[in-house]
Symmetry: D2
Subunit: 351 residues, 4 copies
Amino acid sequence: MTSFKVGILGATGAVGQKFIRILENHPWFKITALGASSRSAGKLYEEAANWIESTRMPDGVKSLTVLECTSNHFDEVDFVFSGLDSSVATEIETDFAKAGIPVISNAKNFRTDPTVPLLIPEVNPDHIEMIREQRFTADGSGWIVTNPNCVAVPLTTSLKPLYDAFGIESVVVTSMQAISGAGYPGVPSLDIMGNVIPFIGGEESKIRQEPLKLLGKLKDGAVRYADFPVQATATRVPVINGHLLSVTVSLKRKADQDEIINVMKSWGSPIHDLDLPSAPKFPLKIFDDPRYPQPRLHADSEGGMQTAIGRIRQAHVMDVSYIAMAHNTVRGAAGGAVLNAELLVKKGFLK
Amino acid sequence: MTSFKVGILGATGAVGQKFIRILENHPWFKITALGASSRSAGKLYEEAANWIESTRMPDGVKSLTVLECTSNHFDEVDFVFSGLDSSVATEIETDFAKAGIPVISNAKNFRTDPTVPLLIPEVNPDHIEMIREQRFTADGSGWIVTNPNCVAVPLTTSLKPLYDAFGIESVVVTSMQAISGAGYPGVPSLDIMGNVIPFIGGEESKIRQEPLKLLGKLKDGAVRYADFPVQATATRVPVINGHLLSVTVSLKRKADQDEIINVMKSWGSPIHDLDLPSAPKFPLKIFDDPRYPQPRLHADSEGGMQTAIGRIRQAHVMDVSYIAMAHNTVRGAAGGAVLNAELLVKKGFLK
Amino acid sequence: MTSFKVGILGATGAVGQKFIRILENHPWFKITALGASSRSAGKLYEEAANWIESTRMPDGVKSLTVLECTSNHFDEVDFVFSGLDSSVATEIETDFAKAGIPVISNAKNFRTDPTVPLLIPEVNPDHIEMIREQRFTADGSGWIVTNPNCVAVPLTTSLKPLYDAFGIESVVVTSMQAISGAGYPGVPSLDIMGNVIPFIGGEESKIRQEPLKLLGKLKDGAVRYADFPVQATATRVPVINGHLLSVTVSLKRKADQDEIINVMKSWGSPIHDLDLPSAPKFPLKIFDDPRYPQPRLHADSEGGMQTAIGRIRQAHVMDVSYIAMAHNTVRGAAGGAVLNAELLVKKGFLK
Amino acid sequence: MTSFKVGILGATGAVGQKFIRILENHPWFKITALGASSRSAGKLYEEAANWIESTRMPDGVKSLTVLECTSNHFDEVDFVFSGLDSSVATEIETDFAKAGIPVISNAKNFRTDPTVPLLIPEVNPDHIEMIREQRFTADGSGWIVTNPNCVAVPLTTSLKPLYDAFGIESVVVTSMQAISGAGYPGVPSLDIMGNVIPFIGGEESKIRQEPLKLLGKLKDGAVRYADFPVQATATRVPVINGHLLSVTVSLKRKADQDEIINVMKSWGSPIHDLDLPSAPKFPLKIFDDPRYPQPRLHADSEGGMQTAIGRIRQAHVMDVSYIAMAHNTVRGAAGGAVLNAELLVKKGFLK
């Protein structure tokens, strides 16, 4: 496999640091450029970043000089990962795409764009064809791919087998979200220690909308959204990593508990045989022990890339209830973007 | 008001200690007898109890000699509060009732008995008439009254205005429950620190069933249960006190958000004018700030006896979603039982 | 007792809010003016403050209009409490004192000033005479009194009986400090959840120096500092309120454990008979149970104004080791300042 | 390297599980026998153990049948690791040693035995010669080696360079210990959440005594203990893994801060060139950033086998203060025992 030179946009932030950590020993991708705000630009990365990951800062990035996030500084990379804040992502990502530099973005800005794939490789790998509709450059060399919100990832991944087998009428979900989802400094300790905050601004609309695009069908280069309502309540709990969801689903075709569990357990990932380096062997882990999954015990399973499911049971209202959990900053952010990039390599979009 | 001599059954346990703390300065009730297991019987209370409340052990109980929980040791009390474990409550509470000693119980054993009131004074005060159907004694002097599960209390209290105004079709609820609900030693810190446990054994069936009895209509001395399904997911979170619920309700008569909020805010407690010492001035507090209620900030409001509501909003699935929260060991346990006793005094059942 | 009109400087900050909460039902002091930065000035307090106390904002302050912190806006108050940030306290407090408005300050700026009393009423009440040395105004009407750092308070209060009875050679102390000590937003949850931070900037020099002024002797209007070295290590732990100290002391006159414990237990507060409203009945509580004191159980004792001591024992190095603990934002900040004001009233400095 | 068959005594407990996890992929040691109490004996390990490690139970042990802890059931192993409770360790470990089965024990029972090495390979590797003094068997085939208490490990490892370079007069230490040190179920969450417990029964005497044996000189097969007093205060804090110590030391030969830091940083491990599989590359990590080390960030460094040091500074009392931290159940328990076994292999005691 050819090695790719990659840049990280927003390299000093929480998501940017996670990209750097995840890519430290990546077999295909090598970080050669780091971009951040003008306040950091010009400094060595080890001076510019307040490193918050628990593993040491990789030696390979320490002495890279931080660049401003403009495409002209990144002409030697093959593509960039974007961990940019949404306040600046639209402008900067557009600049890179127009300059012919593919952008694999964790920002929310382009997720709803009709030509931009919102991608979970195990759920909708075919959506990458949408890239061909993008018009950032005349020759198609610059484009944008996004990964979903950190709750939408385990929610949609767990809904996918049910959607395919039974159809979905509606979903009610309550999330218990980890503090790392708010970045750094993020949630003040005085707010969350020994507490639950029953509201996360802007989160519930993403949970309601993103699964519908992810489960939509691609037709003539456009996604026909799935069509079912999602009622979401997003809460913050004193957990470091791992968003846990309590999900209740109404199915189009009724099924008993055994059939539902069987569908979940026997579900096969469409990218299983692609041997992507970051792909979990089992994208869905189904626990039989009702005490599981738990964020502190299971968020790191399979490198933080697995969605864990438990307590699948017939519901007294609607049809089926279960618990879903995934690592919010790996599977739900930087790790998901890296897996997207790996799929794009295999499919020939990156080369 | 005449003063009552009261006994506490299960006085060394977590619920028994909470009874002792709550009653320390009660204007009507004076603790004169403490019952516990034979292991503690014969010792002074201050030696028998591993006191876990954060306020000091009241002087009035320190030098009481702990008694065995048999009715013959309690012939001088007017009634007893029971914080007994369910493994022994059936036998002991029956013994006391048959001996003519009223039992105000927090145990679950008699909650589903067709002649035993399951009581929240603000919700179903008329159910105390069921006492007249009890046959523990020929003269009606011995009887049992119970209070509900700690999740059922805020759930049912918040459903009551909706049930009366619109009728209820179905309820989906996810609880985030405090560690104090598991007693002492209860939840190991290694299990819950920085974690969520998505299962509490035996809890969900109580959440499903108790609201139906509480909202039932009394007719000819028997309760006709309310009839709607409840789907519950009970989880444990790292919070000291205060169970928080994410509730979604389908209404029989449709209503818009303003009407629903108005019904919740204008609801009046049926016991408002009884001046019960432990009754909160506002049994339901409705927050407009979407960040509230929070267990650490609001569980102690109005002496821990208030149910706090927030985030009332039109739902995309079913009809309305909201957050409810109450102190699980006060409003949801010992404090609820004390309020029951106060109502029973006012209504002449205790004298 | 005449009622006093008081102003709060820094009223929207964490310390300012604590002043407002503590003074809500104060028998002598009534808040009539609130000062904050120009960003807040002109707004109603309920709009200007992000209220973080767990009890509701007192009605009495909600509709006060926030003023800028200049003395001309406060000409109707009898004195002010200052919860100002140290970056602005020197200038503003000087302005008020020069305008003839006494300042009872929690800020650190004037603590080391040779004419400004650093005051713990139970430790050095006579130091208030230093006020007469101050020259802010010609007639002595304007002056400043300060209270110590939140670790210095329990440390010095616990050292006082030992200092008087035996003399002190040296002290080694490790503090485990609550997150509320860092204000709001203060410590990010990602830094402190399930963690210890072994460093608090600027803290250790205050712990080393302030006890020496507090235990100093007043002579001719000036304090002769006590003279012993203190080695401090200040750490942050995941506790909401209550700083806990592990203290080891070398005494000038050697004593055995019984004598030391006896001195600690029999120590009497010099202000015991003044009946100050905020004074704890027992300024030092000595626990015999080695598990105590604990911040979560005991920080609120006696309204948060008590210093709790435990584990007094002969040491294998130096002479005696013990645990001390007090509520950092009450006893160690706003509550300490209020007690200072009460003493100043009794002694005729405020009238 | 020949492969060794090893048994685990106390295999279902917290320490036993940690042994199993650590040995999962060990290049030299293969678990072939598991011993536990008679209650578990006869069951498959996956049925007998309530697995609390966050990684999955290794397949290799799941279907091993748990044995009673008597030597006759373990005749096929080359040696055993003991994670036995101290209430049974004396009897069982003696039985194994007498049967000619070497015991590498984490239990405290034999730590003070004059013929049993108390061993930290980086500190006192030569002490293994004491094995030759043991008389459990006539031919010397059965013997016992122990590893120290979980606080004694980082304390002694950090004192070692100072002891060798300057000599030590005395030590004052306050530990902030993680909850995993109390085993499972261990510390109740109601006791420790948002709290500090300033006492751990039996801990301080081990902290005081074990470093003296570890730093002692071996002469004629016996250890001459180091001779300096240690004053310890052991506290429990809400941290999962990693004991953090605040240490102040009086040196025999005075030195300035630079010399002390230089001695710490330049210290070389005596087993550095033995290439033991579990030995950390850097047994002592010295941080310059005063915020470090922190248990949540650094306890897992180098597989949990590193002792991290920070805040080395001249002290105002005694001579030098610093922070030390190590993973209590890896470096301070099972991992330390495994490293002991590796040293014993290299030195020819196990073959």
